[in-house]
Amino acid sequence: MISAIRSTVAAVYRFYRDGFASMTMGRTLWRIIIIKLVILFGVVKLFFMQDFLSQRFETDREKAGYVSGRLIAAAPAGLENQSSKREVNK
């Protein structure tokens, strides 16, 4: 059983190794993919596109509190109508 697994793993490894080794245009494409991923995750995400809420709050409760606050504060000032007051006070 173990030897069967070993030989399967070895075959899969050889498949990928030989595949990568035989690439011609593929090498250029892999270079592009790797450069792109490094730029996206190593530069863009790290320095320019940080998560706004995670940067400012540690817990989900804090994040929820902040977003709730924004949802309440974002309603146009002075536009709350009487029907809404009546509704809430019922």
């Binding site: 498949f15 990928y16 030989d18 595949g19 990568f20 035989s22 245009m25 593929g26 250029t28 494409l29 892999w30 592009i32 993919i33 792109k36 991923l37 730029i39 996206l40 863009v44 995400k45 320019f48 596109m49 940080q50 998560d51 706004f52 809420l53 995670s54 989900d60 994040k63 929820a64 977003v67 709730s68 924004r70 949802l71 309440i72 974002a74 309603a75 146009p76 536009l79 709350e80 109508n81 029907s83 809404s84 007051k85 509704e87 809430v88 019922k90």
Partner: protein
């Protein structure tokens, strides 16, 4: 002043999202469509055993690889933008989008790690049938992977299967199947994928036509065109049917968007579609200007699209904004009042919870639940704000429809000439074939403009306007990353064009 600053942030964040999504969408439809064409080409090879079909498949697979490699991970930037520029929105939809996006990630990972590898590395290493199976799995898997993203997008247009949790300020999933099988999700997925199949067919026709113009690889080119033209024609039929279904669904769930498609301000029976028209840019929902400087309409078609009945009434923008009692249409002003009730109830609920007043909290929650479906309207300043930019929506819609009508004719003409054996005598079609793929891309991008601009001002239809969905950040920081992405994506497109054209010039392998 603060409001103006917020507006600038929203506009730059919108522009950034549009820029990155539009660049991303250069690559995606080609991947979706070309993957199926590869499967068709290889199936013919396996069925016939003719090595020329294998050579043909491998050539198109090289171009598929270029497009895939350049395009892969470009969608990640959109997810970055959610967290940075649209943090309120991102937080609120986390529970809904978690499942579809995780499913997309798992699909993509397993397909790319297994079947992509067999497809590219396995030609001489696995059996013919195993290789063919892998190619089909790449095609099916890539398209299923797109399904999840489109389901997420459809939910924003038609939010179903969820309930807002005021304690967590989140929309929580109540029924996954309602989200997956919502009519918007089904029509969006089928319309987007079938249009991607058409684009990929045009790509194959375009490159093959170039070879024919140059007098190179003529048998290869004709064979490629034969398969692509059939696939493109079948896909076009699907594009038409699914587009019709999409319009019918939009009429029900986003009627303002449908009215904007046609610049229809005043609702009418037997409403027509504008065949050719020029909008009057002075027209606004608040004035009495004529909507068109000139317009030629085909009567009854919009009513047919919207309601499946030619003589039926289609509400215009004015009916939807100001209400129309005759047809039972509620105006935006009334929805705004209900929305404000929802916001006020939410505030009262949070206050009662903070003060530990359980009875008041229960009462406020009941009031909130009564009006929660109008929450987003509570943030509008005036009813006209619920109207999307009409000119951009109108022209994009008509460009999409016009190209969607003309491009299948290219496939049809090629098929006819191939069938008659007269493609060589009708070389006038070849330059049209070369250009057709670029028009296909224009139609693709126009389609997304229609879908996304047409649903403004909503990030989530009726529930969250973009102004509330945004992060509280400076417009200047969004502006800076906008130009950074512009440079990154332009370099990627440049790389795609350069590598692709060098591969096309090189041509299919001679052996």
């Amino acid at each position: 002043m603060i409001e103006q600053l917020g507006e600038a942030t929203v506009n730059w964040a919108r522009a950034q999202f549009a820029l990155t999504a539009m660049y991303h969408w250069i690559f995606v439809p080609l991947t979706l469509g070309l993957s199926f064409l590869l499967a068709f080409f290889e199936t013919i090879y396996v069925k016939t055993g003719n090595e020329e079909w294998k050579q043909l498949t491998r050539f198109w697979m090289r171009l598929f690889a270029v497009n895939f490699a350049i395009g892969v991970a470009t969608g990640i930037i959109l997810e970055f933008e959610f967290g940075t520029n649209w943090s309120n929105y991102s937080w609120m939809v986390g529970d809904i989008f978690g499942a579809p996006l995780a499913a997309e990630g798992i699909f993509a990972f397993f397909i790319e790690a297994t079947f992509f590898a067999v497809m590219f590395f396995g030609w001489e290493r696995v059996s013919k049938r195993m290789h063919l199976f892998s190619t089909w799995m790449v095609a099916i898997g890539s398209n299923l992977s797109a399904l999840w993203i489109l389901v997420a997008n459809a939910w924003m247009q038609y939010p179903v299967g969820m309930k807002f949790n005021p304690d967590l300020a989140r929309f929580e999933m109540r029924n996954f199947w309602d989200i997956l099988f919502s009519p918007v999700a089904i029509s969006k997925f089928t319309h987007v994928t079938s249009s991607a199949f058409l684009l990929a067919s045009l790509f194959v026709i375009s490159v093959s036509s170039w070879y024919l113009l140059k007098g190179r690889h003529e048998r290869f080119a004709r064979r490629s065109i034969a398969v692509a033209a059939v696939f493109g024609l079948l896909a076009s039929g699907m594009v038409g049917l699914t587009g019709d279904e999409a319009a019918h669904t939009i009429a029900r769930v986003q009627p303002v968007k449908l009215a904007a498609f046609e610049g229809l301000y005043k609702g009418e029976k037997n409403a027509g579609i504008v065949a050719v028209g020029l909008l009057n840019h002075a027209k606004d929902v608040d004035n009495d200007e004529e909507p068109f400087l000139f317009a030629m309409k085909v009567p009854g078609i919009l009513s047919l699209l919207a309601n499946r009945r030619p003589g039926s009434f289609v509400p215009g923008i004015n009916d939807l904004v100001y209400g129309n009692e005759e047809y039972g249409i509620e105006g935006i002003d009334r929805k705004m009042a209900k929305g404000r009730n929802a916001v006020a109830a939410l505030a009262a609920y949070k206050k009662a919870k903070a003060e530990g007043d359980a009875a008041a909290a229960r009462s406020a929650l009941a009031a909130f639940n009564r009006y929660s479906e109008y929450l987003g309207y509570g943030y509008l300043n005036k009813p006209a704000e619920a109207v999307p930019p009409v000119p951009l929506t109108f022209y994009s819609f008509h460009i999409m429809v016009a190209l969607g009508t003309l491009l299948p004719l290219v496939c049809l003409a090629y098929l006819y000439f191939l069938y008659k054996g007269s493609l060589g005598r009708n070389r006038w079609i070849l330059p049209i074939g070369v250009v057709s793929v670029f028009l296909g891309w224009v139609a693709q991008e126009a389609g997304w403009v229609v879908a996304e601009v047409g649903r403004q001002p909503w990030a989530i239809q009726g529930l969250l306007p973009v102004g509330v969905a945004r992060s509280n950040i400076a417009a200047s920081s969004v502006q800076a990353t906008f130009f950074m992405f512009l440079v990154i994506f332009t370099l990627l497109v440049f790389a795609e064009v350069k590598i692709m054209t060098s591969q096309i010039k090189q041509g299919p392998e001679e052996n």
